[in-house]
C-alpha cells in the first residue's frame, strides 16, 4: 500500500527543513550574518544556530592564487655551506688539517686527511653531523641525512642523502609558511590562506588582491640580512658582492658577519629627519647590540656593508660607535621599497628561495560578472526545467519541481555546513544537476505509467513504479558519482569545486527525488483518492 507513516513524514520534513536552514547564512553577506548571529537570543545553544557559510572561490570573489615552490637547489647550496662550516669547526676542534682544504662537491663536501690516526680522531666527530632523519616523537626512520665515505687514501666525503634533502625541503616548507604568513599579514590583506601543497610547495591565496605585484615582490626575496664590513684593500677572506646603488658593480665584502637579520627585534619604515629620504629604522636584541657596538667601536671610519640576499643594499660609513642597539638603513630607496624591506626584516628570512610556479589572478569585476552570469544561468535553467516538467507530467511534474527546488537548497545547505568553496565550475555543476536531478523523477514516472498501462491499479502502479525504478536510480547516480569522485581527487581549485557540487547533488537527489516525491504522492493519494493517473 502507498502508505507514509506520520513519524516518517515528520522525519523527512525535519531533515529537509534543517538542511534548508543550514543554507540561510550563505544567503547573507558578512555584516548581515553577524547581525543575525547577534540577534539570536543567548539561551539558544550555539550549535543550534546555523553560522557556517559557503566560501566563494577566488574566481568568483576576485583575488590572487600564487603557488610557490621551494628551490631545492638553493636550499641544498645553503645546507652545504652550513656543512662546510661544521666540518671546518670540527677540523679546528680536533686539530686535524685537510690537505687541500674543504672542497665543495655537488651534494656535499670533501676533505683529504691522509694520516690514519688523524682520521680515527676525526670521523667519530663527523658522524655526529650525520644525524638520523625523523624526530623524537615520530621515531627514527633509520636513514641518515648525511652519508660519510672514506677511501683508503684518506679522502672523506660527506654527502646529503636523497632522504636527507627531502627532509630539509619538508622542513623548509614548514618554516616558509610561517615566514610567508608574517609577510602577507604585513601587507594588510584580509583572510589570506597559506597552506602546504605536496612535498615542496606552498599555496598562497589572497582574496580581493588585484595586483599581486607587491605580494610577489615580498615572496620573491629570501630576506637574508647580514651586517658585514666592506673589505680593506688587500684583505683575503672576501666575497665579491654587487652593490645596489652603484649599478650592480661588485665590491669586496668581508666574510665575517657582525650581526644578522635574526638579531633584529624590530624594523620600521621611516623618513630621515634631515634628508627626508625613506629609510628603515631597526633595533637589535641584546646579542646583536653587543656585537654591533663592539664592531662599530673597533672600526670607526670604515664602511659597513648591509647585505640583503647577497646584495649590498647600503654601505654607510661608521661615524660614531653605535652602542644603543638601534640603527637605520638608508640608501636610494623608494617609499615602497623601504616598506617592503621593513616587512622582510620583521618577518625573518626564508630558509630558501621560493619560485612562483603558478599564478592566477581574477579581478573583482570579472568575479562579479561571473556571479551574475551564474545566477542568471541557474534561474533560467530552473525555469526551463520547471516548465518542461510541468507540461509533461502536470501535477506529478509539480511534485518533481518542488523536489528540485528543495534539492538545490539542500546542496547549498550541505555546502554551507562543510564550508565548501563555490567556484564558477561549481555553479556550472549546480546548473547541470538541475537538469539531471529530475532524471530520477522521470525514471519513476515513466515506470509508473508503464505499470498502470500494463493493467495495474493506480496504487499498485505507483508502488511498483517506485520500487522498480529505485535500482535504476541507484545505478544512474552511481555512474555519475564515479566520474565526480575521480575529478575530486585529481582536480584542484575551480575544477574540484565542480566535483564537490556534483557529489553533493547526487547525495541529495536520492532524498528529494525519491523520498520527498514519494511522500508528496502518498499524501496526494490519500486526500484525493484519484481513479486515474494525472498524466
Amino acid at each position: 500500500m502507498l502508505r507514509f507513516s506520520r513519524s516518517k513524514i515528520i522525519a523527512t520534513v525535519a531533515i529537509i527543513v534543517i538542511g534548508l536552514l543550514l543554507a540561510v547564512p550563505s544567503t547573507m553577506n558578512r555584516e548581515q550574518r553577524q547581525a543575525f548571529l547577534n540577534a539570536v537570543p543567548s539561551w539558544v545553544p550555539s550549535w543550534l544556530v546555523p553560522s557556517r557559510a559557503i566560501v566563494l572561490g577566488l574566481d568568483l570573489q576576485g583575488g590572487s592564487h600564487v603557488l610557490l615552490e621551494v628551490d631545492a637547489q638553493d636550499l641544498l647550496r645553503g645546507q652545504i655551506t652550513i656543512l662546510r662550516d661544521d666540518v671546518r669547526r670540527i677540523l679546528r676542534d680536533t686539530r686535524v688539517s685537510s690537505q687541500n682544504g674543504i672542497q665543495t662537491i655537488p651534494r656535499g663536501v670533501q676533505i683529504r686527511v691522509p694520516d690514519a690516526a688523524d682520521r680515527d680522531r676525526l670521523i667519530p666527530r663527523l658522524r655526529e653531523l650525520a644525524q638520523p632523519i625523523g624526530n623524537a616523537v615520530l621515531g627514527q626512520t633509520g636513514n641518515n641525512a648525511i652519508d660519510i665515505n672514506t677511501t683508503p687514501d684518506g679522502v672523506i666525503t660527506l654527502t646529503y642523502t636523497e632522504a636527507g634533502i627531502n627532509e630539509r625541503v619538508r622542513r623548509a616548507v614548514d618554516q616558509s609558511i610561517e615566514v610567508i604568513r608574517r609577510r602577507v599579514d604585513a601587507t594588510g590583506t584580509t583572510e589570506p590562506s597559506i597552506q602546504r601543497q605536496g612535498a615542496d610547495r606552498v599555496l598562497v591565496q589572497v582574496p580581493g588582491l588585484q595586483d599581486p605585484q607587491q605580494l610577489k615582490a615580498l615572496l620573491g626575496e629570501t630576506g637574508n640580512l647580514e651586517f658585514r664590513l666592506l673589505a680593506q684593500p688587500g684583505a683575503t677572506d672576501v666575497d665579491m658582492l654587487p652593490m645596489e646603488d652603484q649599478g650592480g658593480q661588485r665590491v669586496p665584502v668581508e666574510r665575517r658577519v657582525i650581526a644578522e637579520g635574526g638579531d633584529l627585534t624590530d624594523a620600521q619604515p621611516a623618513f630621515d629627519s634631515q634628508t627626508n629620504q625613506p629609510i628603515v629604522n631597526f633595533r637589535f636584541n641584546i646579542r646583536g647590540a653587543q656585537r654591533f657596538g663592539q664592531a662599530t667601536t673597533e672600526n670607526l671610519g670604515r664602511q659597513l656593508a648591509i647585505v640583503l640576499d647577497n646584495r649590498v643594499i647600503s654601505a654607510p660609513t661608521i661615524q660614531s660607535p653605535i652602542t644603543g642597539g638601534a640603527g637605520q638603513i638608508s640608501g636610494s630607496f623608494t617609499v615602497e621599497q623601504v616598506n617592503n624591506l621593513a616587512v622582510l626584516l620583521r618577518s625573518g628570512a626564508l630558509p630558501a628561495k621560493l619560485t612562483i610556479v603558478e599564478e592566477r589572478t581574477v579581478g573583482p569585476g570579472l568575479g562579479r560578472d561571473s556571479i551574475e552570469a551564474g545566477k542568471m544561468a541557474t534561474y533560467v535553467a530552473a525555469i526551463f526545467v520547471i516548465i518542461f516538467m510541468f507540461v509533461t507530467y502536470g501535477l506529478f511534474g509539480l511534485f518533481a519541481n518542488i523536489a528540485l527546488i528543495v534539492h538545490v537548497g539542500l546542496i547549498f545547505g550541505l555546502m554551507s555546513v562543510l564550508e565548501a568553496t563555490l567556484t564558477l565550475p561549481g555553479i556550472a555543476g549546480i546548473v547541470l544537476t538541475i537538469g539531471t536531478a529530475v532524471d530520477s523523477n522521470v525514471l519513476i514516472y515513466e515506470r509508473i505509467r508503464e505499470e498502470v498501462r500494463a493493467g495495474r491499479s493506480i496504487v499498485s502502479g505507483i508502488q511498483a513504479g517506485f520500487d522498480r525504478a529505485f535500482a535504476t536510480i541507484v545505478d544512474s547516480n552511481s555512474t555519475m558519482a564515479i566520474a565526480a569522485v575521480i575529478l575530486f581527487f585529481l582536480g584542484s581549485g575551480p575544477v574540484r569545486g565542480f566535483a564537490v557540487v556534483f557529489i553533493l547533488g547526487i547525495l541529495t537527489t536520492v532524498l528529494t527525488a525519491v523520498t520527498l516525491t514519494r511522500m508528496m504522492i502518498a499524501l496526494w493519494y490519500h486526500w484525493m483518492r484519484p481513479k486515474v493517473l494525472p498524466f
Binding site: M376, A377, V442, E446, M480
Partner: protein, 312 residues
C-alpha cells in the same frame, strides 16, 4: 490540461536499423579524430601548455586590438595571440612559455601590466610555469584513464560480460568523439575540458545502464526473442525517459551556454555536445553492438551473414 508527450506511447520503432549509418559514421569521425590528433593535435590552453593568459577590458569600452597586438609583439616575449572576445572591448592575450624557467614568466605579466594598465582593466591573469603544466597534463591523463578503469570495474560487477563489453565500447566511443569535438573545432582544451570529459563518461554510462537494465529484464521475460527484436523493445520502452532526461539536461546546459558568461561557456558547449553524443551512442552504438557480441553468451544470436557484412 493536455500534457505534452515527447515520445509516443507504445512505440515500435526499429532502432537497430540505424546501425547501418551510425557504425560507419562513428568510425569515420573516430578515424578523422585520430588522424587530426596525430597531425595537428589539440589546441591546448595554458593549463597544459604553460604560458601566460591575460584578459583585459578597455576602460573606455572600445579596445584597439591592432594596437595591442603591435605593442605586445614588440615586447619580445615570442608569438603572442591577441583576440577580441565577449563584448564591450574585452581582449585576451596569450603569451607562450618563456625560456629561463619559472621566474622568466613573471616578467611577461609585469611588462603587460606596466604597459596597458592605464587604458585597460586586468580582469584575469594566469601564469602557468612549465613544471605545473607538465603535472596538469599528467593528472588530466590519469583522470581519464582512471575513469575508464573505474567504469570497467563497475560494469564488471554490474553486468554480464556481453553487456559490459558493449557499454565500455560505448563509453570509449563517447570519449573519442568528445576529443574529436575539440580537435575538429579547435576548441581550447584545458583542465575544465577534462572535467567535461569525465562528466560525459558518467552521463554516457548512465544512458547505457538504463537501456541495458531493461534489456536484461526483457531477456528474462522473453527467453527466445532474437537479439535485434529484444534490443529494439528495450530502447522503445526506455525511450520516453531517455528523451526527457536528455531534454532537461540539454535545457539546463543551454541556459549555461546562453547566460553563463564567457568563462564557463566552453565547458557548457562541450557538455551539450556530450549529451547528444551519449544519447546517440547508447541507442545507435552500444545496443546494436550487442547484435554482434551476442546477448546470451554461448547461445549467441545469429545474424545473417550478408547483413553483418553490410553493417561493417
Amino acid at each position: 490540461m493536455r500534457l505534452v508527450r515527447l515520445w509516443p506511447e507504445n512505440s515500435h520503432f526499429d532502432f537497430m536499423r540505424f546501425r547501418r549509418f551510425s557504425f560507419p559514421l562513428s568510425a569515420v569521425i573516430s578515424i578523422l579524430t585520430a588522424v587530426m590528433l596525430l597531425t595537428g593535435g589539440l589546441n591546448f590552453g595554458i593549463d597544459f601548455r604553460g604560458g601566460t593568459l591575460m584578459e583585459i577590458q578597455a576602460k573606455s569600452g572600445q579596445a584597439n586590438v591592432g594596437q595591442i597586438r603591435q605593442v605586445a609583439e614588440g615586447f619580445g616575449f615570442g608569438d603572442v595571440e591577441v583576440q577580441e572576445f565577449g563584448s564591450a572591448g574585452e581582449v585576451s592575450l596569450r603569451f607562450p612559455i618563456q625560456e629561463g624557467g619559472e621566474a622568466a614568466q613573471a616578467a611577461v605579466v609585469q611588462k603587460a601590466r606596466d604597459t596597458f594598465s592605464n587604458e585597460y582593466e586586468f580582469r584575469r591573469v594566469e601564469t602557468v610555469g612549465p613544471r605545473v603544466s607538465g603535472e596538469l597534463v599528467q593528472s588530466g591523463t590519469i583522470g581519464i584513464v582512471l575513469s575508464v578503469i573505474a567504469v570497467l570495474f563497475y560494469l564488471w560487477f554490474r553486468f554480464e560480460r556481453e553487456l559490459a563489453v558493449a557499454s565500455i565500447i560505448g563509453t570509449l566511443h563517447d570519449i573519442v568523439l568528445t576529443i574529436g569535438f575539440f580537435v575538429i573545432t579547435g576548441h581550447e582544451f584545458n583542465m575544465t575540458s577534462i572535467a567535461a570529459i569525465l562528466t560525459i563518461v558518467g552521463y554516457s554510462l548512465n544512458e547505457t545502464v538504463v537501456v541495458f537494465d531493461r534489456t536484461r529484464e526483457l531477456m528474462r521475460r522473453y527467453k527466445t526473442m532474437p537479439a535485434e527484436e529484444l534490443l529494439n523493445l528495450s530502447i522503445n520502452h526506455t525511450m520516453s525517459r531517455t528523451v526527457m532526461t536528455a531534454a532537461t539536461t540539454a535545457l539546463s546546459l543551454l541556459a549555461l551556454v546562453l547566460f553563463g558568461g564567457q568563462a564557463i561557456q566552453g565547458f557548457a558547449q562541450v557538455m551539450l555536445y556530450g549529451v547528444v553524443i551519449c544519447t546517440y551512442s547508447a541507442i545507435c552504438i552500444s545496443s546494436p553492438m550487442l547484435i554482434y557480441i551476442g546477448l546470451r553468451g554461448s547461445e549467441t544470436v545469429k545474424v545473417p551473414e550478408g547483413r553483418a557484412a553490410a553493417a561493417e
